[in-house]
Protein backbone atom coordinates (compact mmCIF):
# COMPACT_ATOMS: atom_id res chain seq x y z
CA UNK A 1 0.00 0.00 0.00
CA UNK A 2 1.62 3.22 -1.15
CA UNK A 3 0.33 6.58 0.00
CA UNK A 4 0.72 10.04 -1.50
CA UNK A 5 -0.02 13.67 -0.80
CA UNK A 6 -2.00 14.95 -3.79
CA UNK A 7 -2.39 18.68 -4.26
CA UNK A 8 -6.06 19.74 -4.16
CA UNK A 9 -5.57 23.47 -4.51
CA UNK A 10 -2.96 26.16 -4.04
CA UNK A 11 -3.84 29.81 -3.53
CA UNK A 12 -2.20 33.06 -2.54
CA UNK A 13 -3.43 33.90 0.97
CA UNK A 14 -1.21 36.73 2.16
CA UNK A 15 0.36 38.27 -0.97
CA UNK A 16 3.78 39.91 -0.58
CA UNK A 17 4.11 38.65 2.96
CA UNK A 18 4.46 35.48 5.00
CA UNK A 19 1.61 33.16 5.81
CA UNK A 20 2.55 32.09 9.33
CA UNK A 21 -0.26 29.78 10.40
CA UNK A 22 -3.50 28.07 9.38
CA UNK A 23 -6.17 26.57 11.65
CA UNK A 24 -9.41 24.72 10.92
CA UNK A 25 -12.62 25.46 12.79
CA UNK A 26 -14.00 22.47 14.77
CA UNK A 27 -16.41 21.44 12.02
CA UNK A 28 -13.70 21.65 9.37
CA UNK A 29 -15.70 24.03 7.18
CA UNK A 30 -13.55 27.13 7.63
CA UNK A 31 -9.80 27.70 7.59
CA UNK A 32 -8.28 30.78 9.27
CA UNK A 33 -4.92 32.05 8.04
CA UNK A 34 -2.74 34.84 9.38
CA UNK A 35 0.48 36.51 8.41
CA UNK A 36 2.98 39.31 8.13
CA UNK A 37 0.40 41.62 6.52
CA UNK A 38 -1.30 41.99 9.96
CA UNK A 39 -4.46 40.39 8.58
CA UNK A 40 -6.47 37.24 9.27
CA UNK A 41 -8.37 35.66 6.40
CA UNK A 42 -11.20 33.15 6.68
CA UNK A 43 -11.42 30.63 3.86
CA UNK A 44 -14.42 28.47 2.99
CA UNK A 45 -15.22 25.99 0.24
CA UNK A 46 -17.37 27.07 -2.66
CA UNK A 47 -18.00 24.13 -4.93
CA UNK A 48 -14.57 22.66 -5.58
CA UNK A 49 -12.46 25.66 -4.65
CA UNK A 50 -11.50 27.60 -1.55
CA UNK A 51 -12.40 31.27 -1.43
CA UNK A 52 -11.89 34.11 1.03
CA UNK A 53 -15.03 34.66 3.12
CA UNK A 54 -13.80 37.48 5.32
CA UNK A 55 -10.75 39.56 6.11
CA UNK A 56 -10.13 40.50 9.74
CA UNK A 57 -7.86 43.51 9.91
CA UNK A 58 -7.26 46.97 11.43
CA UNK A 59 -7.02 45.59 14.96
CA UNK A 60 -3.48 44.25 15.11
CA UNK A 61 -0.67 46.70 14.51
CA UNK A 62 1.93 44.07 13.68
CA UNK A 63 2.28 40.50 12.35
CA UNK A 64 -0.45 38.05 13.38
CA UNK A 65 1.55 34.96 14.33
CA UNK A 66 -1.11 32.36 15.17
CA UNK A 67 -4.86 31.92 15.53
CA UNK A 68 -7.05 29.43 17.43
CA UNK A 69 -10.75 28.57 17.21
CA UNK A 70 -12.75 28.03 20.39
CA UNK A 71 -14.10 24.47 20.77
CA UNK A 72 -17.63 25.74 19.98
CA UNK A 73 -16.35 27.39 16.79
CA UNK A 74 -17.95 30.77 17.59
CA UNK A 75 -14.78 32.56 18.60
CA UNK A 76 -11.38 33.03 17.04
CA UNK A 77 -8.36 34.20 19.05
CA UNK A 78 -5.39 35.82 17.31
CA UNK A 79 -1.88 36.24 18.77
CA UNK A 80 0.16 39.14 17.46
CA UNK A 81 3.67 40.58 17.58
CA UNK A 82 1.96 43.79 18.82
CA UNK A 83 1.90 42.08 22.28
CA UNK A 84 -1.89 41.63 22.27
CA UNK A 85 -4.35 38.80 21.69
CA UNK A 86 -7.66 39.64 20.04
CA UNK A 87 -10.88 37.68 20.52
CA UNK A 88 -13.16 37.73 17.49
CA UNK A 89 -16.80 36.68 17.64
CA UNK A 90 -18.40 34.99 14.65
CA UNK A 91 -21.65 36.58 13.60
CA UNK A 92 -23.16 34.73 10.63
CA UNK A 93 -20.41 35.15 8.07
CA UNK A 94 -18.79 38.12 9.69
CA UNK A 95 -16.38 38.52 12.58
CA UNK A 96 -16.33 41.35 15.08
CA UNK A 97 -13.52 42.18 17.45
CA UNK A 98 -14.91 41.49 20.93
CA UNK A 99 -11.98 42.27 23.16
CA UNK A 100 -8.22 42.76 23.10
CA UNK A 101 -6.18 41.01 25.81
CA UNK A 102 -3.16 42.98 26.95
CA UNK A 103 -0.43 42.26 29.44
CA UNK A 104 2.47 40.53 27.70
CA UNK A 105 5.61 42.62 27.52
CA UNK A 106 6.37 41.78 23.91
CA UNK A 107 5.39 39.58 20.96
CA UNK A 108 2.62 37.04 21.64
CA UNK A 109 3.69 33.86 19.83
CA UNK A 110 0.75 31.51 20.31
CA UNK A 111 -2.77 31.16 21.67
CA UNK A 112 -4.81 28.03 22.52
CA UNK A 113 -8.23 27.21 24.04
CA UNK A 114 -8.77 24.53 26.65
CA UNK A 115 -11.11 21.67 25.62
CA UNK A 116 -13.97 23.17 27.68
CA UNK A 117 -13.52 26.59 26.13
CA UNK A 118 -13.43 28.18 29.60
CA UNK A 119 -9.69 28.80 29.56
CA UNK A 120 -7.41 30.45 27.07
CA UNK A 121 -3.61 30.40 27.09
CA UNK A 122 -1.13 32.77 25.52
CA UNK A 123 2.67 32.69 25.43
CA UNK A 124 5.22 35.28 24.51
CA UNK A 125 8.74 36.35 23.72
CA UNK A 126 8.68 37.70 27.31
CA UNK A 127 9.24 34.03 28.45
CA UNK A 128 5.86 33.74 30.17
CA UNK A 129 2.71 31.64 29.70
CA UNK A 130 -0.60 33.24 30.76
CA UNK A 131 -3.83 31.42 31.55
CA UNK A 132 -7.03 33.44 31.06
CA UNK A 133 -10.47 32.54 32.36
CA UNK A 134 -13.54 33.33 30.29
CA UNK A 135 -16.92 33.97 31.96
CA UNK A 136 -20.48 33.95 30.56
CA UNK A 137 -20.33 37.67 29.79
CA UNK A 138 -17.33 37.11 27.51
CA UNK A 139 -15.08 38.77 30.06
CA UNK A 140 -11.46 37.58 30.21
CA UNK A 141 -9.42 37.57 33.37
CA UNK A 142 -5.80 36.46 33.71
CA UNK A 143 -5.67 33.81 36.45
CA UNK A 144 -2.01 32.80 36.25
CA UNK A 145 1.29 34.00 34.86
CA UNK A 146 3.79 31.13 34.65
CA UNK A 147 7.50 31.77 34.28
CA UNK A 148 8.95 28.27 33.92
CA UNK A 149 10.82 28.89 30.67
CA UNK A 150 14.08 30.81 30.56
CA UNK A 151 13.58 32.01 26.97
CA UNK A 152 11.04 33.00 24.31
CA UNK A 153 7.99 30.64 24.48
CA UNK A 154 7.07 29.49 20.97
CA UNK A 155 3.93 27.38 21.30
CA UNK A 156 1.20 26.32 23.72
CA UNK A 157 -1.25 23.42 23.36
CA UNK A 158 -3.99 21.85 25.48
CA UNK A 159 -4.58 18.16 26.02
CA UNK A 160 -7.57 17.03 23.86
CA UNK A 161 -9.81 16.21 26.84
CA UNK A 162 -8.10 17.17 30.13
CA UNK A 163 -7.07 20.47 31.61
CA UNK A 164 -3.43 19.75 30.96
CA UNK A 165 -1.32 22.40 29.27
CA UNK A 166 2.00 22.12 27.42
CA UNK A 167 4.41 24.74 26.10
CA UNK A 168 7.73 24.73 24.25
CA UNK A 169 10.49 27.27 23.97
CA UNK A 170 13.68 28.71 22.54
CA UNK A 171 15.26 27.29 25.72
CA UNK A 172 14.98 23.80 24.03
CA UNK A 173 12.54 22.50 26.67
CA UNK A 174 8.90 21.48 26.88
CA UNK A 175 6.89 22.20 30.06
CA UNK A 176 3.73 20.42 31.21
CA UNK A 177 1.39 22.30 33.56
CA UNK A 178 -1.49 21.32 35.81
CA UNK A 179 -3.77 23.33 38.01
CA UNK A 180 -3.23 23.09 41.71
CA UNK A 181 -5.48 25.16 43.97
CA UNK A 182 -6.22 27.81 41.34
CA UNK A 183 -2.56 28.00 40.55
CA UNK A 184 -1.03 26.62 37.38
CA UNK A 185 2.44 25.24 37.77
CA UNK A 186 4.99 23.38 35.68
CA UNK A 187 4.86 19.74 36.82
CA UNK A 188 7.29 18.24 34.30
CA UNK A 189 10.06 19.56 32.08
CA UNK A 190 10.81 17.43 29.02
CA UNK A 191 14.44 17.74 27.98
CA UNK A 192 15.98 16.15 24.90
CA UNK A 193 15.84 18.57 21.99
CA UNK A 194 19.17 20.31 21.36
CA UNK A 195 17.70 23.52 19.92
CA UNK A 196 14.49 25.59 19.83
CA UNK A 197 11.29 23.54 20.09
CA UNK A 198 8.89 25.17 17.62
CA UNK A 199 5.64 23.26 17.99
CA UNK A 200 3.70 20.48 19.72
CA UNK A 201 0.79 18.21 18.89
CA UNK A 202 -1.09 15.67 20.99
CA UNK A 203 -2.44 12.45 19.51
CA UNK A 204 -6.20 11.83 19.75
CA UNK A 205 -5.94 9.98 23.08
CA UNK A 206 -3.77 12.66 24.67
CA UNK A 207 -1.41 9.96 25.91
CA UNK A 208 1.28 10.96 23.47
CA UNK A 209 2.77 14.24 22.35
CA UNK A 210 4.85 15.05 19.26
CA UNK A 211 7.37 17.91 19.30
CA UNK A 212 9.46 19.42 16.49
CA UNK A 213 12.61 21.44 16.65
CA UNK A 214 15.34 23.51 15.08
CA UNK A 215 17.55 20.45 15.74
CA UNK A 216 15.79 18.90 12.68
CA UNK A 217 14.16 16.11 14.64
CA UNK A 218 10.66 15.20 15.76
CA UNK A 219 10.27 13.51 19.14
CA UNK A 220 7.39 11.40 20.42
CA UNK A 221 6.72 11.60 24.16
CA UNK A 222 4.49 9.17 26.02
CA UNK A 223 2.77 9.46 29.37
CA UNK A 224 3.68 6.85 31.99
CA UNK A 225 1.08 7.40 34.75
CA UNK A 226 2.07 4.20 36.59
CA UNK A 227 5.70 5.27 36.95
CA UNK A 228 4.70 8.25 39.00
CA UNK A 229 4.60 8.86 42.66
CA UNK A 230 1.33 10.50 43.61
CA UNK A 231 0.56 13.76 41.87
CA UNK A 232 3.51 13.54 39.52
CA UNK A 233 3.38 13.97 35.78
CA UNK A 234 5.63 11.49 33.96
CA UNK A 235 6.43 11.70 30.27
CA UNK A 236 9.29 9.97 28.43
CA UNK A 237 10.69 10.29 24.93
CA UNK A 238 9.89 6.98 23.20
CA UNK A 239 10.93 7.83 19.64
CA UNK A 240 13.11 10.35 17.76
CA UNK A 241 12.61 10.86 14.03
CA UNK A 242 16.00 12.03 12.80
CA UNK A 243 17.61 12.15 9.37
CA UNK A 244 14.41 13.05 7.54
CA UNK A 245 14.39 16.86 7.68
CA UNK A 246 16.92 19.05 5.85
CA UNK A 247 16.34 22.16 7.97
CA UNK A 248 14.35 23.43 10.97
CA UNK A 249 11.02 21.64 11.55
CA UNK A 250 8.56 24.48 12.19
CA UNK A 251 5.37 22.54 12.81
CA UNK A 252 4.01 19.09 13.53
CA UNK A 253 0.38 17.94 13.36
CA UNK A 254 -1.01 14.65 14.58
CA UNK A 255 -4.21 13.68 12.75
CA UNK A 256 -6.89 12.65 15.27
CA UNK A 257 -8.82 10.72 12.59
CA UNK A 258 -6.04 8.64 11.01
CA UNK A 259 -3.05 8.87 13.39
CA UNK A 260 -0.84 10.21 10.58
CA UNK A 261 1.84 12.72 11.59
CA UNK A 262 2.56 15.66 9.25
CA UNK A 263 5.54 18.03 9.46
CA UNK A 264 6.29 21.50 8.05
CA UNK A 265 9.96 22.11 7.30
CA UNK A 266 12.31 24.96 6.43
CA UNK A 267 13.52 22.89 3.46
CA UNK A 268 10.17 23.65 1.70
CA UNK A 269 8.90 20.08 2.13
CA UNK A 270 5.78 18.58 3.69
CA UNK A 271 6.19 15.05 5.03
CA UNK A 272 3.69 12.56 6.43
CA UNK A 273 4.76 9.77 8.78
CA UNK A 274 2.82 6.63 9.70
CA UNK A 275 3.28 4.35 12.65
CA UNK A 276 4.23 0.68 12.31
CA UNK A 277 1.18 -1.04 13.77
CA UNK A 278 3.10 -4.08 14.95
CA UNK A 279 5.78 -2.19 16.89
CA UNK A 280 6.07 -2.21 20.69
CA UNK A 281 4.06 0.77 22.05
CA UNK A 282 6.99 1.60 24.32
CA UNK A 283 9.29 1.73 21.29
CA UNK A 284 7.08 2.95 18.45
CA UNK A 285 8.45 3.07 14.90
CA UNK A 286 7.41 5.70 12.39
CA UNK A 287 8.09 5.54 8.67
CA UNK A 288 7.92 8.21 5.98
CA UNK A 289 4.68 7.51 4.11
CA UNK A 290 4.59 10.56 1.84
CA UNK A 291 7.02 13.35 1.00
CA UNK A 292 6.50 16.39 -1.23
CA UNK A 293 9.96 17.95 -1.51
CA UNK A 294 8.87 21.20 -3.15
CA UNK A 295 5.52 21.57 -1.40
CA UNK A 296 6.05 25.36 -1.36
CA UNK A 297 8.53 27.78 -2.92
CA UNK A 298 9.82 28.77 0.52
CA UNK A 299 9.81 27.53 4.13
CA UNK A 300 6.67 25.68 5.20
CA UNK A 301 5.47 27.25 8.47
CA UNK A 302 2.43 25.20 9.41
CA UNK A 303 0.53 22.00 8.70
CA UNK A 304 -3.05 21.36 9.89
CA UNK A 305 -5.27 18.30 9.44
CA UNK A 306 -8.95 18.90 8.82
CA UNK A 307 -10.75 17.69 11.97
CA UNK A 308 -13.66 16.10 10.09
CA UNK A 309 -12.55 15.21 6.56
CA UNK A 310 -10.16 12.26 6.58
CA UNK A 311 -6.77 12.99 4.99
CA UNK A 312 -7.37 16.66 4.15
CA UNK A 313 -4.26 18.67 5.07
CA UNK A 314 -3.60 22.42 4.84
CA UNK A 315 -0.10 23.92 4.75
CA UNK A 316 1.20 27.47 4.47
CA UNK A 317 4.49 29.11 3.64
CA UNK A 318 6.77 32.14 3.70
CA UNK A 319 5.77 32.63 0.05
CA UNK A 320 2.31 33.71 1.31
CA UNK A 321 0.52 30.69 -0.18
CA UNK A 322 -1.79 28.08 1.31
CA UNK A 323 -1.85 24.59 -0.19
CA UNK A 324 -4.58 22.02 0.43
CA UNK A 325 -3.52 18.37 0.12
CA UNK A 326 -5.22 15.01 0.19
CA UNK A 327 -3.31 12.21 1.91
CA UNK A 328 -4.52 8.99 0.34
CA UNK A 329 -3.57 5.64 -1.07
CA UNK A 330 -2.01 5.98 -4.47
CA UNK A 331 -4.49 5.33 -7.22
Amino acid sequence: MKETLALVQRFSAHPDSRCWFVSWNPTGTLLASCGGDKAIRIWGREGESWTCKSVLQDVHQRTVRKTAWSPCGNYLASASFDATTCIWKKNNNDFESLTVLEGHENEVKCVAWSPSGNLLTTCSRDKSVWVWEVDEEDEYECVTVINSHTQDVKHVAWHPTQELLVSCSYDNNICIYKEDDDDWECRATLQGHTSTVWSLSFDASGQRLASCSDDRTVKIWKEYPNDCTQGDVCWKCVCTLSGYHGRTVYDVAWCWLTGALATACGDDAVRVFREEETADPDQPVFFLAAHVSKAHNQDVNCVAWNPKEVGLLASCSDDGDIAIWRFQEEI
Binding site: R18, G36, R62, T63, R65, F81, N106, E107, K109, R125, D152, K154, Y170, S195, T196, D214, R247, T248, G266, D267, N297, Q298, D299, D318, D319
Partner: protein, 159 residues
Protein backbone atom coordinates in the same frame (compact mmCIF):
# COMPACT_ATOMS: atom_id res chain seq x y z
CA UNK B 1 23.28 52.54 18.63
CA UNK B 2 26.85 53.79 18.44
CA UNK B 3 25.82 57.25 19.64
CA UNK B 4 27.38 58.28 22.96
CA UNK B 5 29.90 56.36 25.01
CA UNK B 6 33.27 55.07 23.98
CA UNK B 7 33.97 52.87 21.05
CA UNK B 8 34.44 49.24 22.00
CA UNK B 9 37.30 48.76 19.62
CA UNK B 10 39.01 52.12 19.28
CA UNK B 11 41.79 51.29 16.84
CA UNK B 12 40.67 48.52 14.54
CA UNK B 13 43.09 47.05 12.04
CA UNK B 14 42.06 48.22 8.59
CA UNK B 15 42.38 45.87 5.64
CA UNK B 16 42.64 46.66 1.95
CA UNK B 17 39.49 46.52 -0.15
CA UNK B 18 39.26 44.06 -3.06
CA UNK B 19 39.47 45.32 -6.59
CA UNK B 20 36.55 45.41 -8.96
CA UNK B 21 35.41 42.07 -10.19
CA UNK B 22 36.44 41.23 -13.75
CA UNK B 23 33.63 39.94 -15.91
CA UNK B 24 34.38 36.88 -17.97
CA UNK B 25 33.23 36.45 -21.53
CA UNK B 26 30.58 33.91 -20.57
CA UNK B 27 29.20 36.23 -17.87
CA UNK B 28 28.73 38.93 -20.49
CA UNK B 29 27.04 36.48 -22.83
CA UNK B 30 23.29 36.80 -22.15
CA UNK B 31 22.62 33.40 -23.68
CA UNK B 32 24.68 31.48 -21.12
CA UNK B 33 23.13 30.53 -17.76
CA UNK B 34 25.16 32.35 -15.15
CA UNK B 35 24.86 30.88 -11.65
CA UNK B 36 25.36 33.13 -8.62
CA UNK B 37 28.90 32.65 -7.30
CA UNK B 38 30.75 33.41 -4.04
CA UNK B 39 32.23 36.63 -5.39
CA UNK B 40 28.81 38.02 -6.31
CA UNK B 41 27.54 37.34 -2.79
CA UNK B 42 30.69 38.89 -1.36
CA UNK B 43 30.17 41.98 -3.51
CA UNK B 44 26.70 42.37 -1.98
CA UNK B 45 27.95 42.39 1.60
CA UNK B 46 31.48 43.81 1.51
CA UNK B 47 30.35 47.46 1.44
CA UNK B 48 28.01 47.14 4.44
CA UNK B 49 28.99 49.81 6.98
CA UNK B 50 30.27 48.88 10.39
CA UNK B 51 27.81 50.20 13.03
CA UNK B 52 30.50 52.12 14.92
CA UNK B 53 33.31 52.92 12.49
CA UNK B 54 33.19 54.79 9.18
CA UNK B 55 34.57 51.66 7.55
CA UNK B 56 33.09 48.78 5.56
CA UNK B 57 32.87 45.21 6.86
CA UNK B 58 35.48 44.28 4.27
CA UNK B 59 37.92 46.92 5.51
CA UNK B 60 37.57 45.56 9.05
CA UNK B 61 37.98 41.99 7.77
CA UNK B 62 34.59 41.13 9.30
CA UNK B 63 33.64 39.58 5.97
CA UNK B 64 35.99 37.77 3.60
CA UNK B 65 35.30 36.12 0.29
CA UNK B 66 36.67 32.77 1.49
CA UNK B 67 33.97 32.70 4.20
CA UNK B 68 31.16 32.99 1.67
CA UNK B 69 29.75 29.76 0.27
CA UNK B 70 26.99 29.70 -2.31
CA UNK B 71 25.39 26.71 -3.99
CA UNK B 72 23.18 28.03 -6.76
CA UNK B 73 21.76 24.61 -7.67
CA UNK B 74 20.67 23.91 -4.09
CA UNK B 75 19.76 27.58 -3.48
CA UNK B 76 21.83 27.89 -0.33
CA UNK B 77 24.10 30.70 0.87
CA UNK B 78 26.27 30.48 3.95
CA UNK B 79 28.23 33.47 5.26
CA UNK B 80 30.62 33.44 8.21
CA UNK B 81 31.56 36.80 9.69
CA UNK B 82 34.32 37.61 12.16
CA UNK B 83 33.64 40.23 14.85
CA UNK B 84 36.61 42.57 15.36
CA UNK B 85 36.81 41.67 19.06
CA UNK B 86 35.51 38.57 20.94
CA UNK B 87 33.11 40.60 23.12
CA UNK B 88 31.75 42.81 20.36
CA UNK B 89 28.22 43.82 21.38
CA UNK B 90 27.45 44.71 17.77
CA UNK B 91 27.81 41.11 16.55
CA UNK B 92 24.07 40.44 16.31
CA UNK B 93 23.46 43.75 14.55
CA UNK B 94 26.25 43.08 12.03
CA UNK B 95 24.90 39.57 11.37
CA UNK B 96 21.39 40.94 10.99
CA UNK B 97 22.58 43.55 8.48
CA UNK B 98 24.29 40.86 6.40
CA UNK B 99 21.16 38.71 6.53
CA UNK B 100 18.82 41.57 5.60
CA UNK B 101 21.06 42.64 2.71
CA UNK B 102 21.02 39.11 1.28
CA UNK B 103 17.27 38.66 1.91
CA UNK B 104 16.60 41.84 -0.03
CA UNK B 105 18.98 41.14 -2.93
CA UNK B 106 18.74 37.40 -3.57
CA UNK B 107 15.82 35.54 -5.17
CA UNK B 108 13.33 34.13 -2.63
CA UNK B 109 14.43 30.55 -3.35
CA UNK B 110 17.69 31.03 -1.41
CA UNK B 111 18.14 29.74 2.15
CA UNK B 112 20.47 32.20 3.85
CA UNK B 113 22.56 31.14 6.85
CA UNK B 114 24.68 33.74 8.63
CA UNK B 115 27.08 32.56 11.35
CA UNK B 116 29.98 33.85 13.39
CA UNK B 117 33.35 32.40 12.32
CA UNK B 118 33.88 29.54 14.81
CA UNK B 119 35.94 30.52 17.83
CA UNK B 120 35.88 34.29 17.26
CA UNK B 121 33.19 35.48 19.66
CA UNK B 122 32.37 34.84 23.31
CA UNK B 123 28.63 34.48 22.66
CA UNK B 124 28.97 32.73 19.31
CA UNK B 125 26.27 30.13 19.95
CA UNK B 126 23.70 32.62 21.28
CA UNK B 127 24.27 35.04 18.38
CA UNK B 128 24.06 32.22 15.80
CA UNK B 129 20.82 30.94 17.32
CA UNK B 130 19.29 34.41 17.30
CA UNK B 131 20.25 35.00 13.66
CA UNK B 132 18.85 31.60 12.62
CA UNK B 133 15.47 32.23 14.28
CA UNK B 134 13.42 33.75 11.47
CA UNK B 135 10.54 34.55 13.81
CA UNK B 136 12.77 36.72 15.98
CA UNK B 137 14.41 38.25 12.89
CA UNK B 138 10.94 39.09 11.53
CA UNK B 139 9.93 40.66 14.85
CA UNK B 140 13.19 42.63 14.99
CA UNK B 141 12.60 44.05 11.52
CA UNK B 142 9.16 45.29 12.58
CA UNK B 143 10.93 47.42 15.19
CA UNK B 144 11.29 50.76 13.40
CA UNK B 145 14.27 52.04 15.38
CA UNK B 146 16.21 48.82 14.86
CA UNK B 147 15.28 48.79 11.18
CA UNK B 148 16.62 52.32 10.87
CA UNK B 149 19.98 51.25 12.32
CA UNK B 150 20.11 48.27 9.93
CA UNK B 151 19.26 50.53 6.99
CA UNK B 152 22.07 52.88 8.01
CA UNK B 153 24.52 49.98 7.90
CA UNK B 154 23.20 49.06 4.46
CA UNK B 155 23.13 52.59 3.04
CA UNK B 156 25.74 53.62 0.51
CA UNK B 157 28.26 55.77 2.25
CA UNK B 158 28.90 59.24 0.87
CA UNK B 159 32.63 59.83 0.96
Amino acid sequence: MSAGGRLENENPVVFQRSGERLLTASEEDEEVHDPIDDREIFDLIRSINDPEHPLSLEELNVVEQVRVKVNDVESTVSVEFTPTIPHCSMATLIGLSIKVKLLRCLPDRFKIDVHITPGTHASEEAVNKQLADKERVAAALENSSLLEVVNQCLSTRSI
